[in-house]
């Protein structure tokens, strides 16, 4: 029986002419009752002092039976006959892929020597972790533990290769429903936040919650087993939820109820509305407009609007002055143009732009506020991520799960573009940002149209590592994601995989046994590829110490949508429990909903001490109505009594 890496010989390298030992692969046999398995790390010691570390990638068992016919003959054709008194001699023959030679040069075939199970020190050597875990300025980020034959050894990734600048990005694949992909990313973020050394700088994470309540409870503690706690202890990570989580979600079309499953009364106060106006959208019009819409003429007019009109003092040709800050302002400008052209006669051109182009652009742009209602406002009010004031070790969750694909694309594109711009200028507030995107195959499919989102993802994957913009992406089928995006991920993580997916060309480098293991991987186990690891390594990670989406929904059931007034009251009450609902309702009485929304947004953004006072102040002045009818008098004044000669 194998024990945990205590240096006992468990096998011997064998080599024949047909099955030779090479520098990168060799074969060894073990006893039949071995606990060795696929993924175990072994060490070969040659008498010369050379050491070879390798990972088991395949295993075979066979006996000295030359042909099945011999068994038939021996049993005289009756499989239920007297069993053979002697079991045939069997061999367990393993194939191992070399992880490292020590010394590295000259590269030689693996010596035909004894094979031992790796110890913890051997695991570090085999995975080249000694270079970044045992050094003056360690950069190890625990990803899980390696387990084989009773040995539990932490496995770490190199932060320089996970967050840049050497390489960056992490891509995780796995079938849905096994709580692997999201859990693994949540655990990795916790690991990064707790173990990223100070000399590597600050880091924050931006997570796009694209489905269900997956990422809605990162600040709530989750349930852990004793085994999970042992794993955390082995990895020297404290099992606790994230400290600084900021939630953002757009409104629902009613403009006041937040479009998120984190709408329980106890939690909704910590969700900030994500609201954008014209300026925020116009720069990303390509995302929102169909490719067919944007011909050269429309593109030129959009550029004109962005450069010359929006948020500038603009005079039309008919004496009007416009300062366009919102979709409503823009609509007024368009109306002036159309009216002006109509009054001027039969001219079809305004400032070199044909009226048909102007109408087309107007229709598409004005319609955006309808298509993305809840996120995009007509009135110009804005509530955005704190670009420029990102906090170290903070998680910014954007819950876009309730939005349609178009809205999700817009949020994703703009947020990531803003992150990139700020990182380029070095004024984001942190030096590294991990952007987590699930369902990457939706945003960057291997085939299909070359969308703006996909182009941007390509740009991040190719240039992000220099900026500190790191993409953590997950998808079910890696083969369905753009090759360059997948290929640029320095670290690849695989949960349980679908056999059809494993049959695709991207997995040809894996041995059949490794594929089988991947197809049957239990929850909590991953296969990791990392630049320092010559071969994929299997690790086990603990479940994240945060509340899972389904558990969160059970514990904090989402609140039902409430009427406008009530929703405002609740959101303000979430900021300060002392506020009087009656007072808020009084202050809202007679106000337009747009004004109330704007005031609510400003209050949530400012989080003032005096919530009601601030809210009321932001509602603006009211124009009081005057009572024109005197109390007790009739509304009509009777005519003076005169004699009417024609009266009868």
């Amino acid at each position: 029986m194998i024990r945990g890496g205590n240096g006992e010989t468990i096998g011997r390298v064998v080599a024949t002419e047909a099955l030779p030992a090479g520098p990168h692969q060799f074969h060894f046999w073990t006893a039949t009752d071995t606990t060795l398995g696929i993924g175990a790390i072994v060490r070969v010691d040659a008498d010369s002092g050379r050491r070879v570390y390798a990972v088991v990638v395949d295993g075979r068992a066979y006996s000295d039976l030359a042909t099945p016919l011999h068994e038939v003959v021996a049993a005289e054709g009756d499989p239920s006959g007297v069993p053979a008194p002697t079991r045939r001699t069997e061999v367990r023959l393993w194939t191992a892929a070399v992880l490292r030679h020590e010394p590295e040069e000259p590269v030689q075939p693996v010596p035909l020597a004894e094979v031992r199970l790796a110890s913890q020190a051997d695991v570090e050597m085999a995975l080249r972790m000694d270079g970044y875990v045992r050094c003056e300025q360690p950069t190890g980020i625990p990803v899980g533990v390696y387990r084989a034959g009773g040995l539990t050894a932490p496995v770490s990734l190199d932060a320089d290769f996970l967050l840049g600048p050497e390489s960056a990005h992490l891509n995780i694949s796995g079938v849905s429903g096994l709580a692997t992909k999201t859990s693994a990313v949540e655990f990795m973020l916790a690991s990064i936040f707790q173990r990223l050394p100070s000399h590597k700088g600050s880091v924050a994470a931006v997570c796009f919650n694209v489905k269900g309540p997956d990422l809605c409870f990162l600040d709530q503690p989750g349930e852990l087993t004793e085994a999970d706690r042992e794993l955390y202890a082995a990895l020297e990570i404290e099992p606790r939820p994230f400290d600084g989580v900021q939630y953002f979600a757009p409104f629902k079309p009613d403009g006041v109820n937040l479009n998120t499953l984190r709408s329980h009364a106890e939690l909704v106060g910590s969700v900030q509305p994500l609201v954008w106006g014209l300026r925020e959208v116009l720069n990303y019009h390509e995302v929102l407009l169909n490719r067919d819409d944007i011909d050269a003429k429309a593109d030129a007019f959009l550029d004109f609007l962005a450069d010359r009109v929006v948020e500038k003092e603009f005079r039309d040709d008919w004496g009007g002055t416009h300062r366009v800050r919102s979709f409503a302002d823009l609509e007024r400008l368009f109306r002036s143009i159309f009216d002006g052209l109509e009054q001027a006669g039969r001219s079809d051109v305004w400032r070199t732009h044909h009226i048909a182009t102007i109408r087309k652009v107007r229709n598409r742009l004005i319609n955006i506020s309808t298509r993305c209602r809840g996120l995009v406002t007509d009135d110009g009010s804005v509530n955005d991520l704190p670009f420029g004031a990102f906090e170290d070790r903070a998680v910014y969750v954007l819950d876009v799960s309730g939005m349609d694909q178009l809205g999700q694309d817009l949020v994703f594109t703009r947020v990531v573009s803003m992150l990139r711009e700020h990182l380029e200028r070095g004024d984001l507030g942190v030096e590294h940002v991990v952007v987590f995107v699930d369902e990457l195959n939706k945003y960057a499919p291997a085939d299909g149209p070359d969308t703006y989102v996909r182009k941007m993802l390509l740009d991040i994957s190719e240039r992000g590592r220099y900026l500190g913009l790191v993409l953590f992406a997950a998808q079910q089928f890696r083969s369905q994601v753009h090759r360059r995006i997948v290929g640029n991920a320095g670290t690849m993580v695989f949960g349980r995989m679908d056999m059809d997916e494993l049959a695709t060309p991207g997995y040809q480098v894996l041995s059949p046994a490794t594929k089988i293991k991947l197809a049957t991987l239990p929850k909590g186990e991953l296969m990791v590829r990392h630049p320092h690891f010559t071969q994929p390594v299997f690790v086990r990670f603990p479940r994240p110490a945060v509340m899972s989406g389904p558990a969160g929904v059970r514990r904090y059931p989402p609140a039902a949508d409430v009427p406008f007034e009530e929703a405002v009251v609740r959101q303000l009450a979430a900021l300060d429990r002392r506020v009087s609902p009656a007072r808020i309702k009084d202050s809202m009485a007679g106000r337009r909903e747009e004004d109330v929304r704007r005031a609510l947004l400003a209050t949530k953004r400012a989080r003032p001490d005096d919530v009601v006072g601030f809210f009321t102040a932001n509602l603006g002045r009211t124009v009081a109505r005057e009572q024109v009818r005197r109390e007790g008098s009739s509304a009509t004044i009777p005519l003076r009594q005169v004699e009417d000669p024609y009266a009868t």
Binding site: L65, A66, V82, A84, T86
Partner: protein, 265 residues
């Protein structure tokens, strides 16, 4: 006789091998390098485990034919010297045969040593030996459960109708037990057993001869022993050409010993 029956729980299997080669000559005198080994595998459950193993390497030479200097030179190799019979006159072929005979004798001695060691530690165990019991005569009195399994039938013990009965036994049948003398004074009981049908094949196909020390028990147990030997047909020792007579465990002893020879052959 009945069909195959489960073998005894405690059973071991013994075999030996020998190798020799002429390494050189002092004049006409051949210097033969020899290797002998014997091993016994014990069956535990349905698995074979090594119980005893002896191996020796030697230089075989007729010492009376070589000079003290030559003898010293051989001794300096560190390999034990084994004296062998010298022919009446030097003969390049006969002298080698004499040396080979010495190697064979040494192999038999090793087999005895292994059998003795095994039976000392496991006196109740059955021991199936590959070949006759001629080399184990001094054990015969104290080891009633030793059993020799002879695959070759060059030596003829029966004549006429008896012989015909013996060599035409149908599958799963045995002959009656008869005695034969070995090593002068001792005698063993022996009988023929047909393991596999010989029809459409050679007459000797699947025919083995069993030897046991001449005791009453051997007579009484002849059928029972034959039945469990029938059970030993599985697993088949194919692709060995002797699969019809070679028991799988005996083949495994051979395989083990050959593997131990290492660089010798």
């Amino acid at each position: 006789m009945g069909g195959p029956a489960p073998p005894p729980e405690q059973t071991a299997f013994l075999d030996g091998i020998q190798r020799y080669a002429v390494e050189g000559r002092f004049g006409l005198v051949p210097v033969v390098r020899g290797y002998v080994a014997a091993a016994a595998l014990r069956r535990e459950g349905d698995r074979l485990r090594l119980a005893e193993h002896e191996a020796e390497e030697m230089i075989v030479v007729p010492l009376e034919r070589i000079s003290p200097g030559q003898r010293q030179a051989l001794a300096d190799t560190g390999i034990p010297l084994l004296d062998c019979e010298a022919g009446e006159r030097a003969h390049p072929v006969v002298d080698v045969q004499l040396a080979a005979r010495a190697v064979e004798r040494r192999r038999e001695e090793l087999e005895v040593a292994v059998a003795t060691a095994l039976l000392r530690s496991e006196p109740d165990s059955w021991l199936v030996v590959d070949g006759g019991l001629g080399g184990l005569t001094h054990l015969l009195g104290s080891a009633p459960r030793v059993l020799g399994l002879i695959k070759s039938h060059e030596t003829q013990f029966l004549d006429g109708p008896d012989l015909e009965v013996a060599v035409t036994l149908p599958e799963g049948h045995r002959s009656s037990v008869f005695a034969r003398r070995v090593g002068g004074r001792s005698s063993v009981y022996t009988w023929y057993l047909r393991l596999w049908s010989w029809e459409d094949r050679d007459l000797l196909h699947g025919l083995v001869r069993i030897e046991r020390p001449a005791t009453d028990a051997a007579l009484a147990e002849a059928t029972a022993v034959s039945r469990w030997l029938l059970a030993e047909r599985a697993p088949l020792s194919a692709p060995d050409g002797r699969w019809d007579r070679l028991l799988y465990p005996i083949r495994q002893v051979e395989t083990f010993l050959r593997a131990q020879v290492g660089g010798w052959w």
